[in-house]
């Protein structure tokens, strides 16, 4: 079975690679454009996927409401930026405050959602927690829709066109550049948090064994809350950035983005942080190439097909470890 998988994988990559090289030679700049677009897209997926993968790593729950946290981040930034803009504040201050408010509010929502919908169900069957998560997602979407607007709202980009970037702007715009750079910085910070701080150590311990961690004096409930907060913060950054990139948001953006990010997390190996980043990049780039060279209307179908193929042939993902069920 394993050998068969490897052969199949090599064959698929080979055929796609052969077709790809022909296209790339025909028009290299188009390919490059798609590639960078994919990288941008992948960065956003990565920012969201981190939340999924960290939460799954600790409590083995698909946090369906995570996409909504990302949407709330973008929405808060939009509201704060428009209010301050009307009051005539300095644009640099607006950018900083919009980011700060988006992150703070997303964290608060992530924290509250965990306390309401997941904490009372910690010992309940998995199905209950999953249904509760779906309910929460549905609730948050409709809450934002009713309180704000069901229409698309234009989002004036917070990120200005940098002057020093002008010579390269025809290859990659300054917004895309900012997205990629910010993602790299966030990843590095997160890596430091997980690897070198006490909190990170406690998180890793909780992910490995909750009971043992609590015996060693780790407050498991607090660690789980922290995980939700950290995941929400990265999702909020992703939300604000994508809103700047696309230029409009509505209450529904979190749903599909959340699903795609989840697919990316599974692709990379759910529970693994480097896996989430790698999976996001792979998904972003391959999606971008697929829509560029084949049918753009089947973009989402492509992502789901990847998910199904991954789950059938390698359910543990690219970087995940195989796990056997034990009694």
């Amino acid at each position: 079975m394993r050998l068969f998988n490897i052969i199949l994988g090599v064959a698929v990559v080979g055929i796609l690679g052969f077709l790809g090289i022909k296209e790339v030679i025909a028009d290299p700049s188009y390919f490059f454009e798609l590639f960078l677009g994919g990288l941008t897209r992948g960065s956003i997926y990565a920012l969201i996927a981190l939340g999924y993968t960290m939460v799954y790593g600790i409590i083995e729950l698909i946090n369906f409401a995570h996409g909504e946290i990302y949407m709330i981040g973008a929405m808060t930034a939009l509201i704060v930026a428009s209010v301050l803009g009307l009051w005539g504040w300095n644009s640099a201050v607006i950018v900083i405050l919009a980011f700060v408010f988006a992150i703070v509010y997303s964290c608060a929502y992530g924290f509250t959602v965990e306390k309401i919908a997941y904490k009372p169900l910690r010992t309940a069957p998995r199905l209950s927690a999953l249904i509760s998560a779906i309910g929460m997602s549905l609730f948050l979407q409709n809450y934002v829709m009713l309180a704000q607007s069901p229409e698309y709202m234009p989002f004036e980009s917070l990120i200005p066109d940098f002057e020093f970037w002008e010579p390269f702007a025809h290859i990659i715009t300054s917004v895309e550049m900012t997205i990629i750079v910010t993602t790299v910085i966030v990843m590095i910070l997160l890596g430091i948090l997980i690897k070198f701080t006490r909190i990170g150590k406690a998180m890793r311990a909780t992910a490995q064994d909750q009971v043992m961690a609590s015996l060693l004096g780790i407050n498991v409930n607090r660690i789980i809350s922290t995980t939700f907060v950290v995941g929400s913060a990265t999702a909020a950054i992703g939300g604000v950035l994508i809103a700047c990139h696309v230029g409009q948001i509505n209450f529904y953006i979190g749903f599909l983005a959340g699903l795609k990010a989840f697919i990316a997390a599974v692709l990379g190996g759910i529970g693994s942080i480097p896996g989430a980043v790698l999976g996001s990049m792979v998904l972003g780039i391959s999606e971008s190439l697929f829509t560029g060279y084949f049918w753009s209307e089947y973009e989402d179908v492509f992502a789901f097909t990847i998910l199904v193929i991954i789950l059938i042939f390698r359910p543990s993902g690219i970087l995940g470890r195989d796990e056997t069920t034990k009694v």
Binding site: I72, L127, I131, I134, L146, L259, V301, F304, V308
Partner: protein, 400 residues
């Protein structure tokens, strides 16, 4: 009762919600006209609501804890106890039957039409109940099979002029086939992956229907789907609604009969056992994949049947009827009504579908309430409003 400490805590929770919802509830920006509206009154409502909700929440959470300690096994819901009582059961069922038979003749067509859609949801709910409630497989793409059924009838009728009665079994067969084809690769997955894959499948079917113009006219959909005929006789518009109503009633009864028989059969017990403990089941010699696949395929069959009725009733279908929200609505029916409990699902479908129809003023809050209810039911009453009752054999003392 409520202590001072709890009131203080709830006060702070109310404050927390006021802060939390401030940007979204209070500020409303119009980014096109560049106007900002502050709705301060909302802040007050959120605070008050948060305070009382927190009090009630804590009270019920505590009661749940207490109940866990003094667990009583024979905690049978009142509906079941009434139905077990023979004196009550017969007149109740008679009255129910009379009500449903007389319904289309007493009420105007509009109400009958709403009742039909509610009854279609009963069918769908009972079908999904096999998958989610009995077998414990979370299927978020249930609407895909519903779409398969509806499109099968519409397309077969369009191209070959096949009638409703012939389309019914064909669609059911196709639904089973689709269920099996989709189920086979994904049922080996763990539960939560299954939810995402089925969700993805539901979306794929919808996207394909929207983009594949040659198949079903894309977003424009298919119109002029004929209502069912009665031995070749086509009814007028009014009569045909009543006719469809009785067909649906018949199908619902058929479904109830099937589900009831299934639940007490070997395969039904295998489903329930599999839901409770997979590993133990395998040790007992139950074929995991085959059992799950049967549940999945049977659920799909019912969805396809529901789809045919839906197409015949509305006489027009397009992909917009088969969004993910439809799947989630059906899931709500099952979850809130009571997973695994046929009576619960029937009651859930009737309440959840009929109530928003008649409370038009608040119908925009429908999905908001559904979402909140899902969380609340899962936290406080995971077995749903009317829980299922497992067969219990009681040891009776022999009187001497």
């Amino acid at each position: 009762m409520v202590t001072i400490r709890e009131i203080k805590q709830s006060f702070f929770i109310g404050l927390w919600f006021m802060v939390l919802t401030f940007p979204i509830m209070v500020i409303r920006v119009d980014t096109i006209k560049h106007i900002v509206i502050f709705r301060w009154s909302n802040l007050m409502w959120v605070g008050i609501l948060g305070f009382f909700a927190s009090l009630v929440w804590n009270y019920f959470l505590r009661r749940k804890e207490e109940k866990k300690k003094t667990d009583t096994a024979d905690d049978i819901p009142i509906v079941h106890r009434l139905l077990q009582n023979q004196k009550f059961k017969t007149p109740f069922l008679m009255a129910l039957a009379l009500f449903f038979i007389a319904y289309p003749f007493i009420f105007p067509m509009y109400h009958t039409s709403i009742m039909i859609s509610a009854l279609v949801y009963v069918m769908l709910g009972l079908g999904l109940n096999i998958v989610v409630g009995l077998a414990g497989l979370l299927d978020l793409g249930y609407v895909a099979f519903y779409a398969v059924g509806a499109y099968t009838y519409a397309l077969l009728n369009l191209h070959f002029g096949i009638s409703f009665w012939l389309a019914l079994p064909i669609s059911a067969l196709l639904g089973t086939m689709f269920g099996t084809i989709l189920g086979y690769p994904v049922l080996r997955l763990k539960g939560d992956y299954l939810a995402i894959v089925t969700l993805g499948f539901g979306e794929i079917i919808r996207i394909i229907l929207e983009n594949w113009d040659e198949l079903g006219n894309g977003p424009r959909g298919i119109g002029n789907i004929p209502a069912p005929s009665f031995f070749g006789h086509q009814f007028g518009q009014h009569d045909s609604v009543i006719y469809i109503y009785f067909i649906v009633i018949f199908l619902v009864l058929l479904t109830i009969f099937f589900v009831n028989r299934l639940e007490n059969s070997r395969i039904g017990r295998a489903w329930i056992a599999l839901r409770d403990d997979e590993i133990a089941c395998q040790a007992m010699g139950i074929d995991k994949v085959k059992t799950k696949l049967t549940a999945f395929a049977l659920g799909a069959t019912w969805a396809a049947l529901g789809g045919v009725v839906f197409a015949a009733k509305t006489s027009f279908i397009n992909p917009m009827s088969f969004t993910i929200w439809e799947s989630i609505t059906i899931l709500c029916v099952v979850v809130i009504g009571g997973m695994g409990s046929a009576i619960g699902v029937i009651a859930g479908a009737l309440v959840l579908i009929l109530l928003p129809e008649y409370l038009r003023a608040v119908s925009e809050y429908r999905m908001l309430v559904f979402g909140a209810l899902q969380v609340i039911v899962m936290v406080f009453k995971p077995e749903g409003l009317i829980k299922s009752v497992r067969k219990i054999y009681k040891f009776k003392k022999v009187e001497e």
